[in-house]
């Protein structure tokens, strides 16, 4: 329920904005260049110039970079031409990458690294008017002691009494140097791990000057503008379920989250790869295997109806694939003669040798003798929205469709979800075990909830373990996730990526292939470092996921 005054206020403000665009704003809109469409390009450029892995972090702050990230603003419109604003992005990227490479904080000292830079900057400065180029791009800040973390910030502005039905999400600007405090509801007790550790921004009301009471409508959209102005220097950690989500990458200061390791952990131990030491930490993570039995039959029914067309289409595609055969030469039986083998046998006979009697060509079904395990990311981040759909819903509905069809063509498959809260609690929810019938398991998907974090490594290792007990000739894991590996106790960035990669390599060596699907464009920046080429798909939107899963079957050389 809106206060009508506020409604009017916001309406007038919007109208005012539309009618009375300041000349300055009008000029800016013509020359403005956004980060988003070029982000991948700057990311690649930065990696090349730095000559080591670096990331791009979006933030409006005038800071050049930290020790492994180039900081770029969402847009530049300060220069008088679009080309010049594009050059600004380029030059900031290059200088930041050089700063990371050389560990020199002052970009002015880096000009000699690449001779062409000096003249480019000199050409650009006149187009910036009053603004000084160096001020604009800022200096590097290497001082941060803590490893950077990706995290999420929840703007729990409304503090609703009851659980909300819908959650709105807004992608926010990135923030650096954020201080995290523990909220009142969060006991920093080791025995009891927090369930969600998403940060909550304080003092949101301050922005509007309206000083109004909150109510239980979801007003995030209206507040988006204000939120974007929010300088999120302090956030609070809380366990409350959010009402509205304001998603933003932050870099935290001064908070170490390495929880004590003495407390005994139950479950099945798995090693974790420490790329810095180049060795496995033995029994580091603990998988808690759980079997899901609660089911939602109504959900299954309605999903089947809702996606009838998708299922039909998938069935057609997979059927085509399944009837596709591969020719295996020199077989003892088969519908066709192998002419090469016949000649060789003739020759052998003539020269007085025992001829090989395997003279036939056999056709083998492509999807023959496959065991697959579908592993889905159930972490809290799947609770967010892409293209008007909650990622978790997309994932489970897709899984439902794929399962419906897989059941007809693949002898053995299992479905499991995973999430984690520190290395000692890596949950592995078995939704359908290999021998469970699909018909009874499928409704369980309807009861899945988002939970915790994304520690991919242990989940993969456990899935591999389950697969090795299967007798099928070809074994494959399909991993569905929305993004990057992370956990409460340091599983971010390079560390997590290398661990995932190690787990996959180990699997490959044991004949278990892994194919990953991401439903987030940004995955382009870290997926390739975890998965071998052709062994991952980045799916532009949720609807494409089902089709690309089908494509993966075809490509996985399942018949070799």
């Amino acid at each position: 329920m809106f206060e009508w005054e506020e409604n009017v206020f916001l309406g007038i403000k919007a109208l005012h904005r539309r009618l009375f665009v300041s000349p300055r704003e009008r000029a800016a809109s013509v020359v403005r260049v956004h980060l988003a469409p070029r982000r991948q390009q700057w990311f690649l450029l930065a990696n090349m110039i730095a000559e080591k892995p670096v990331a791009v972090f979006e933030t409006p702050n005038a800071v050049l970079c930290d020790h492994e990230r180039v900081f770029l603003p969402p847009e530049f419109s300060i220069a008088s031409t679009p080309e010049a604003n594009e050059h600004l992005f380029q030059l900031k990227t290059i200088l930041a990458a050089l700063a990371i490479k050389t560990r020199v904080a002052d970009p002015k000292a880096l000009l000699d690294e690449i001779p062409a830079l000096k003249s480019r900057i000199a050409d650009l400065q006149p187009l910036l008017g009053e603004t000084d180029f160096w001020q604009l791009i800022g200096r590097a800040e290497f001082s941060r002691a803590n490893e950077p973390r990706h995290s999420k910030t929840l703007a729990n502005v409304l503090e609703a009494a009851q659980q909300p039905e819908n959650v709105t999400e807004i992608e926010g600007k990135g923030q650096t140097n954020v201080q995290v405090q523990l909220g009142d509801d969060d006991q920093p007790v080791e025995a009891e791990m927090p369930i969600h550790t998403f940060e909550k921004a304080e003092t949101l009301e301050e922005y509007s000057g309206l000083d109004r009471k909150t109510d239980d409508e979801d007003e995030l959209e209206e507040h988006a503008e204000a939120l974007h102005k929010l300088d999120m220097k302090h956030v609070v950690r809380t366990r409350e379920r959010p009402r509205s989500i304001y998603r933003s990458d932050i870099v935290m200061d001064g908070l170490s989250l390495d929880f004590g390791s003495d407390a005994p952990a139950g479950g099945i131990p798995y090693p974790e790869w420490d790329f810095k030491k180049q060795q496995h930490k033995p029994a580091w993570c603990h998988i808690q295997p759980r079997t899901q039995i609660e089911a939602d039959a109504a959900w299954a029914q309605s999903t089947a109806t809702k996606h009838r067309a998708v299922i039909l289409d998938l069935r057609k595609k997979l059927a085509a694939l399944a009837t596709q055969t591969q020719r295996a030469k020199r077989q003892p039986h088969g519908p066709e003669l192998d002419i090469d083998a016949v000649i060789a046998a003739q020759v052998a006979q003539h020269s007085g040798h025992a001829p090989d009697e395997r003279l036939y060509i056999q056709r083998q079904r492509r999807l023959h003798d496959v065991a697959a395990l579908v592993l889905m990311d159930q972490s809290f981040s799947t609770d967010s929205w892409v293209d008007d759909a909650r990622v978790l819903d997309t994932i489970r509905e897709t899984l439902f469709c794929v399962g419906e069809v897989m059941d007809e063509f693949i002898e053995t498959f299992a479905v499991a979800g995973f999430s984690s809260n520190t290395r000692r609690q890596c949950d592995f929810h078995l939704i359908k075990d290999f021998r469970d019938p699909w018909r009874t398991s499928r409704a369980r998907l309807g009861r899945l909830e988002a939970n915790g974090y994304t520690r991919i490594g242990p989940a993969l290792r456990h899935a591999q373990e389950l697969l090795t007990r299967q007798s099928a000739e070809k074994k494959v894991i399909f991993l569905l996730t929305d993004g990057r590996p992370c956990d409460y106790d340091r599983y971010e960035g390079e560390y997590g990526i290398r661990d995932v990669r190690k787990a996959i390599e180990t699997g490959t060596r044991h004949g278990i292939m892994t194919h990953a699907f991401a439903i987030e464009q940004r995955a382009r920046e870290h997926f390739p470092r975890m998965f071998a080429r052709q062994h991952y798909d980045i799916v532009p939107n949720p609807k494409a996921l089902a089709a690309s899963m089908c494509g993966a079957f075809a490509r996985l050389r399942l018949a070799c």
């Binding site: 690649l44 990696n47 090349m48 062409a116 060789a344 040798h353 080429r533």
Partner: protein
């Protein structure tokens, strides 16, 4: 030893190792990415040791028969023809099996007996057992690229060889390779190598294959032939590596910054 006509620039102590392995009759495995000089090195060493070189490029259709030889039917008569491996053993040549991991398992197994103390080859079709003369040497190459192939050599095969890892040469040496191969001036060669170093740091992102020394040599040849350097680098380095528009744009920017 003769002075070979093949141009090869030593990047470490590899020729010494090769010569010692040859004397000790040990088979050798060369590991390394494409275009980093493995073939050139073997050619050079064969010339240096004054031995004939027999090279076989293996692929997934390479069978034991292809390597050992087969009976051919000629006018009702059968005639045995040696395959390259058999020929190399008879001649005491240096045998180079390129990309051996790609070959079929049965093909890889036939060379096992050549790699241990027996150094012999059994031809089941003719019933012959050949003993390799002391000059014979077996070299295999393989590209252990994490991204490349699902195929890996079995430990039982790998452990029959001593291993020599090839990486990209150091900046200075690679610069000298480029000038030595093509005659471009040193400054230009150095710029090309610096582009390569930068692009190679993207390899881990697996958006592209890495830039090989071969591509740098190609770019330098085009520059020598009179093409503008930026253009030469674009067609010889950027375009062969990737079709991804963002990656192409980013690499072109690096080229423009450097050349």
């Amino acid at each position: 030893m003769s002075t070979p006509a093949v141009f090869y620039l030593e990047t470490g102590r590899e020729s010494e190792l090769f010569a010692k392995a040859w004397e000790a009759r040990l088979p050798l495995m060369l590991k390394g990415p494409t275009g980093c000089g493995k073939t050139r090195f073997v050619e050079y060493m064969a010339a240096k040791l004054g031995r004939p070189l027999i090279t076989v490029s293996c692929n997934e259709d390479t069978t034991a028969t292809d390597l050992l030889g087969r009976h051919l039917l000629i006018g009702g008569e059968t005639k045995w023809t040696d395959g390259p491996v058999t020929r190399a053993v008879r001649e005491g040549a240096i045998l180079y099996l390129d990309e051996v991991a790609e070959a079929r398992a049965d093909a890889i197994v036939v060379i096992h007996s050549l790699t241990d103390h027996r150094r012999e080859l059994f031809l089941d079709r003719t019933g012959e057992t050949l003993h390799a003369p002391p000059e014979f040497m077996l070299i295999i190459s393989y590209n252990p690229g994490y991204q490349r192939s699902m195929r890996e050599l079995k430990p039982s095969t790998r452990q029959r060889f001593i291993g020599l890892g090839f990486g990209y040469p150091s900046t200075d040496i690679e610069t000298r390779i480029v000038t030595g191969e093509t005659g471009v001036d040193e400054k230009q060669a150095r710029s090309l190598v610096s582009i390569a170093t930068k692009v190679r740091s993207l390899t881990e992102l697996s958006l592209l294959e890495s830039v090989s020394t071969r591509l740098l040599v190609d770019a330098a040849k085009l520059i020598r032939a009179g093409l503008p350097p930026r253009y030469a680098a674009t067609v010889a380095i950027a375009e062969p590596l990737t079709d991804d528009p963002d990656a192409l744009a980013a690499i072109k920017q690096v080229i423009e910054l450097t050349l």
